[in-house]
Symmetry: C2
Amino acid sequence: MKEKLKEHIEKLIPITDDELSFVLSHFSLENYKKNDFLFQKGEKVKNCYFIISGLLKLVYDDHDGKQHIVSFAMEDWWESDFSAYFSETEAKMSLQCIEDTRVFSISFKNYEKVLTESPKMQQFFLKKSNLGHIASQNRVLSFLTSNAKERYEQLFQQYPILFQRVPKTLLASYLGVSRETLSRFYS
Amino acid sequence: MKEKLKEHIEKLIPITDDELSFVLSHFSLENYKKNDFLFQKGEKVKNCYFIISGLLKLVYDDHDGKQHIVSFAMEDWWESDFSAYFSETEAKMSLQCIEDTRVFSISFKNYEKVLTESPKMQQFFLKKSNLGHIASQNRVLSFLTSNAKERYEQLFQQYPILFQRVPKTLLASYLGVSRETLSRFYS
DNA sequence: TTGTAATAGTGATCTTTGTCACACAGATAT
DNA sequence: ATATCTGTGTGACAAAGATCACTATTACAA
C-alpha cells in the first residue's frame, strides 16, 4: 500500500523512506464499496484521493438529469473535484465507485502542509498538475479533431481495460455519445 | 511591462521587488507581428510565453490539413505547447500571432532554475498549473454537456472580446463547429 | 426461485451539423 | 486602380448522431 504510493511518486521524483513516512502521515487510508460516493455534488470537497485499487467515475449531472463522465479514475490516479478542492467550495461534480475501491485521502489543509514542508512534494505535485493539464488538453483535442467513432477507437487503444470493467453506457457518457450510437460502432 | 507580470503574479502569490527582478532576469522580452509564429509544429519548443499584449492562437493541424484551435492566448495568459516544452521535444502544435504581440519568454532551463531557486515561484506555477487543468476540464465538460450553439453562447458570455478581435472562422475552429454552422447561429 | 434492475442490441425516424457551391464585401498588395 | 486574398453569408443536400420504442439477457435482491 505504502509501496504503491512510493513507487508512484518516484516515477517523477526520488524520495527517501523518511520523507515518505512524513508524507504518508498526512494521508488516511479509506475503503469504499461499489456505488459509494466519495463526495456528491453540492457538498464541500474536503479531500483529494490517490487510488490504490478499484475504479471510480467523476460525474457531472446536467440540468436534464443526464450524467456526463468527466473522468474515470483507476489505480495510481489522483482524483477530486479540483476546482472545489482548491477553492474549498462545493462540488459541482460527484465522485462515485464503479468497483470496491481503496484510497489514500488527503485534506486540503494537509495538502498545503505537505507542500510547504516538503519541496520535493511540491515539485511532485507541480509535475503531476502539468501532466493533468496536458491530458485534459489532449481530450479537448480529440473532441476537436475526431468524430464519435474515432474517439471510441482512441479510448479503446489507450485504455482497453476500461471495456472489460465499465458498462458501455458509462463509456458512452465519457465519450460524449449516446449508448445506442456507441453500440452500433462494434456490431 | 514588468509591472504587468508583477501584478499578474501577485494575484496568486505576494512577491517582493527583489524577487521579481531575480525572476525577470530569466525572461526575455520579445515582439512579434501579426501572422508570425512563436514556434511551429515539428520544431523543438524551447520557450514558454507570458503574453503582455496582443493575441495568439495555439493550433493543431490534423492529417486532412484542417486547423483546430486548442486555445486563444491573450494578455496575462501563459502559453506554449506544454507537452513539448516540459519534455523538451518537438511541438505537435503551432503558436501564431493573430495580432501584433509582445511577450516575456522563458526557456525551459531558466524555468527550472527559477523553480529551484524561488519557492514562491514554484508555488505560483503550481497554482497556475492547477487553474489551467481546471480550465481544460471545463472545456471538456462543455463538449460533453452542450451542443454547438450552446458552446457558442458560453464562449460569447465568457469572452465577448474575442468576437471583436477574432475572425469567425477561427472561433468556429475553436468551438469545434464548421464556419457555416456558426454563421447560422446569429443570422 | 421469482420478480425487478441494469445492461445491451436494433429498427425507425428526427435533428443537428457538415459539405459543397456560390455570391459578395472589404482589405491588401502591386 | 485593379487584381487577389480573406472573411462572411446562405441555399441545397448529405452524413452523423440522437431519440424513441421495443426486445432480450443477465445480475441481484426479497
